[in-house]
């Protein structure tokens, strides 16, 4: 348990300094733990693995976009757990399931199990992308999906380099909002 905390916190601190590899490693490790957590919880209320994967992705998005709310002076595990539990209760409330069944568990339960079985969520990100403005879509596709550099993306989309960065930032936020809206309906 301690090693998880120490290792994950080190990744988080590096990711806060802008280290992309650490950020990716952090989100990967957390997503497999979140998967085990949500599958276990949702199985108990009769929900599918796809829905668990939706929740994993919502939690990963939340961890990404709310990482400024993590206080480096505090341990990471309770912070991740609070987000995971918040998203679970939000999901159950949205789906009118009983959330009285969700026990208040130990904060480190979320770090207890890994689940690396790859699953698809129900979000069709390509379809959601079509609803984004042209520059946002182009910037995200170029950099995030096709792996181009910022310079190459700026050339492809016909906008400045800082424009690409701003469009990626805003576009990902807009995409997260679309996913959240999708799950609410």
């Amino acid at each position: 348990m301690m090693t998880h905390e120490v290792e994950l916190k080190a990744l988080m601190l590096a990711s806060r300094d802008g280290d992309a590899a650490s950020h990716r490693a952090l989100l990967n490790q957390l997503s497999s733990r979140l998967r085990a957590y949500y599958k276990g919880k949702l199985a108990r209320v009769g929900r599918s693995a796809e829905e668990a994967e939706d929740l994993v992705q919502e939690a990963v998005l939340a961890i990404h976009f709310k990482r400024h709310t993590y206080d480096p002076a505090e341990p990471l595990t309770p912070w991740v757990h609070a987000i995971a539990r918040y998203k679970l209760i939000d999901f159950l409330r949205r789906n009118r399931a009983s959330f009285a069944d969700v026990p208040i568990e130990e904060a480190d339960e979320i770090m207890a199990y890994d689940d690396n079985v790859d699953a698809e969520s129900t979000y069709d990100v390509k379809r959601l992308m079509e609803r984004l403005p042209k520059n946002m879509r182009c910037s995200i596709e170029a950099v995030k999906l096709d792996g181009l550099s910022i310079v190459e993306a700026a050339e492809r989309c016909g906008i400045s380099e800082s424009g690409v960065k701003v469009n990626i930032h805003r576009g990902l936020k807009a995409l997260a909002a679309l996913i959240a809206k999708e799950t609410r309906t």
Binding site: S15, R16, D17, G18, A20, A21, H23, R24, L27, N28, S31, R35, E53, V56, Q57, V60, L61, A62, H64, K66, R67, H68, T69, Y70, D71, P78, W79, H81, A82, I83, R85, Y86, D90, A107, D118, A119, E120, S121, Y123, D124, V125, I140, V143, K144, L145, G147, I150, K165, I168, H169, L172
Partner: protein, 213 residues
């Protein structure tokens, strides 16, 4: 969408976290809320005419001690509640302390006065103005504080909304104290305390709707 793809997309070209720490955002909002409340009071009501008399100053300081006490404790709570899991580190007891103190002082002051004065001491001259002014002045400060908390990530929305309402009510009562000419402890306990509690309840009711993320 595969989760691996999502993680890969989120990790490409990330920037260092340079957003303001949550605490600072909350305190900036608090300062803005105070300025807004003072502005509304100055424009809408005006400062009491007898402000410079000794009796008025003593009661002004007392009202300010009560409201600043509330706002101080509640702001510290809000900086905790705004972070995921922060609700584990707050308890409602110290937030209730200023209320307990003013109720105790009010009871002592009533006990020392003849019962024929009680009605006047509790109702004052302007209880209706106080009852309406504090919640109305609190609206914009409440919006300012909610906007700041929305940038963070509270995980107990009812309690966070309640504390936001408590701060807004406290800031509003702080500004209203500069106008209010009812100088008696029971009046402050009932009408200041009561309206701030109302703001807190309104915040608790609105929290889940306004703060969801």
């Amino acid at each position: 969408m595969r989760t691996d793809d999502l993680v890969a997309a989120l990790s490409a070209n990330i920037e260092p976290v340079n957003g303001r720490p949550v605490g600072r955002t909350v305190y900036i909002a608090l300062a803005a809320a105070t300025v807004v409340a003072l502005g509304i009071m100055l424009v809408g009501l005006g400062v009491r005419a007898d402000l410079m008399t000794a009796r008025a100053l003593i009661f002004l300081l007392l009202k300010l001690a009560f409201t600043v006490g509330i706002v101080g404790v509640a702001s510290v709570y809000l900086t905790r509640l705004a972070r995921p899991g922060g609700e584990r580190r707050t308890s409602s007891i110290s937030a209730a302390m200023p209320f307990a103190a003013i109720v105790l002082l009010a009871a002592i002051s009533l006990g020392l006065a003849p019962s024929s004065h009680w009605n006047k001491m509790v109702m004052g001259d302007e209880w209706l103005e106080c009852l309406l002014s504090i919640p109305i002045i609190a609206i914009v400060p409440f919006a300012v504080i909610i906007a700041a908390v929305r940038r963070a990530a509270p995980t107990n929305l009812v309690r966070t909304g309640a504390v936001a309402g408590l701060i807004a009510g406290g800031v509003s009562a702080m500004a209203y104290a500069l106008h209010c000419t009812d100088d008696s402890l029971p009046f402050v306990a009932v009408w200041y305390g009561g309206t701030i509690v109302l703001c807190t309840l309104a915040g608790a009711a609105l929290g889940p709707r306004l703060l969801r993320w």
